[in-house]
Amino acid sequence: MQVETLVGGFGGQGILFFGRILAIAGMLQNFEVSWYPSYGPEMRGGTANCTIIVADQEIGSPVSDHPHLCVAMNEPSLHRYGILVKKGGNVVINSSLIGTEWEKDGVHVDLVPGNSLAMEKAGDPRVLNMVLLGAANERMHIVSFEYLYAAVKDQLSGKPQGLVDHNLKAIDVGRDYILRGDVACW
């Protein structure tokens, strides 16, 4: 098993934290993991991306030519990275910010209104990354949810309890959105 995830968006949307939580959860579940951020010109231009690989064997390249999953938090990253996704793969689109129709042959698309779910259901606009992580992980079953919760608690230890709770809640909000199947389609 090897799941390659590419997550992209604006700086400040929590792309690297999304990756860190997924990677730590994978590590806690005893998978091999790698996390590779954009640190170059993209970062300096205001967009960010991060590749996370979770595997049950030694990871070769930490970069993915054709990821199994793309999480697009903004429109430029959808057009740039969505196109790379493998046949049979998934794209999770933050439909709060992306209004354009997008499809790729053989790729499943979920429209998840990350920003509004974060604000309205999870109680904090900052946790949109965790909403999308919950949704993506429910779609792909990369790691067990208990490890995502454990990773959040680990990474936010020492932070105000409210923030921890909102992040944990956000993962469930995203998960439920996929589970209930009320994912919008164009």
């Binding site: 860190r20 993991v33 790698s34 590779y36 010109p41 070769g60 054709h66």
Partner: protein, 359 residues
């Protein structure tokens, strides 16, 4: 032992502290600045010194001073910053001063860019500075190996009284992987015989990096050559991976080494048998295993993130026995599994007709 998810740069810094390095002199440059950042927080707690020098040249001569005083000391840089240290590295070799140098290399030449690259191979293994000298060069391919080779680097530096370079790249420095810190407790090597720590009652000592009398300087060079020969006998490290009966041998180090593991596995799915030799020490170079494996496979493909540097050493190692092909990307481009697979197929299908390189 607890696994921690850590960035390569942070992991090198932590391993250095655990190896007993409590002096660091450096100057910031992407993509290795986290090493400085980490040590600026960590070293004061250990009673050590973190110092951001006025320049890379300043930093390397601070390393020289600290090493002469017998301390475990490290510096790190990248690209143009590492170039600036070359004069000092030559001096350190001449004066036989142990230290660890970390180059988290980036795209060049010139100011280049900040993306991963292996364009500093020649600089690292052929002597980037002046004079007839060698630096022991270690090339990790994962965050765990960065840690393990950092421990080793401090030991080898003391053992040979010679600088040891860890040659990584921006990808290794910036990526996070789970890592376990297992300090292997290498034997302590006494420096009592040569350090400058205040003469008190003993004889005066001078550490020099020059000898005006050519006879003396030749003697120094011959002595250094003996050390290098001993390194070649004792310190060669490499990894062999993949098929026992390969149709083609792949050769790559560091980041490319791990990408080539993906290629070996991808090829296996398609019924193509590949083997990989991943040099872990770039100097001394693993000539013998390469010659043996290349003969077994009948042909070799060297992949690098430059336009052909280590390939020269591979050709020297196989001594013309088998054709050696090359695939390289440069300027911060990372070769993909897909493009390397194309190259493999081309070589296996066309044999002698295949292009020697992808340029």
């Amino acid at each position: 032992m607890q696994k921690i998810l850590m960035k390569g740069n942070d992991a090198v810094a932590e391993a250095a502290v655990q190896a007993g390095c409590n002096l660091y002199f450096g100057y910031p440059i992407t993509p290795q600045t986290e090493i400085s950042e980490y040590l600026s927080r960590r070293l004061p707690d250990t009673g050590g010194v973190f110092l951001q020098a006025e320049s890379e040249i300043g930093a390397i001569y601070m390393v020289y001073g600290a090493a002469a005083a017998g301390k475990r000391v490290m510096t790190s840089s990248s690209g143009p910053g590492f170039s600036l240290k070359q004069e000092g590295i030559s001096y350190l070799c001449s004066a036989e001063l142990p230290c660890v140098l970390v180059n988290i290399s980036r795209g060049g030449p010139g100011l280049g860019n900040i993306q991963p690259s292996q364009a500093d191979y020649f600089q690292a293994v052929k002597g980037g500075g002046h004079g007839d000298y060698r630096v022991l060069v270690l090339a990790p391919c994962s965050v765990q190996e960065l840690v393990d080779l950092t421990y080793l680097a401090f030991y080898l530096a003391d053992k040979y009284r010679n600088p040891v370079e860890i040659l990584g790249d921006g990808m290794l420095g910036q990526m996070m992987e789970p890592v376990v810190f297992r300090n292997p407790d290498y034997p302590d090597i006494s420096k009592e015989e040569w350090v400058i720590t205040g003469k008190k009652t003993r004889e005066r000592r001078i550490i020099l990096c020059f000898a005006l009398d050519p006879k003396e300087l030749e003697k120094l060079n011959l002595h250094l050559a003996e050390k290098y020969a001993e390194m070649e006998r004792s310190e060669v490290l490499y990894e062999v991976y993949g098929s026992e009966q390969p149709e083609l041998l792949l050769v790559g180090y560091g980041t490319v080494g791990r990408i080539l593991k993906s290629v070996v596995r991808e090829a296996e799915k398609q019924g193509i048998r590949l083997a990989l030799v991943r040099p872990v020490t770039l100097y001394p170079f693993p000539k013998e295993i390469l010659r043996g494996q290349a003969r077994k496979a009948g042909k070799a493909l060297v992949v690098e993130m430059n336009l052909g540097q280590m390939v020269e050493d591979v050709k020297l190692s196989v001594e013309g026995d088998v054709p050696v092909y090359f695939h390289g990307r440069s300027g911060g481009m990372i070769p993909t599994v897909e493009e390397i697979m194309h190259r493999v197929e081309e070589i296996l299908l066309k044999g002698g007709e295949a292009r020697e390189n992808n340029l």
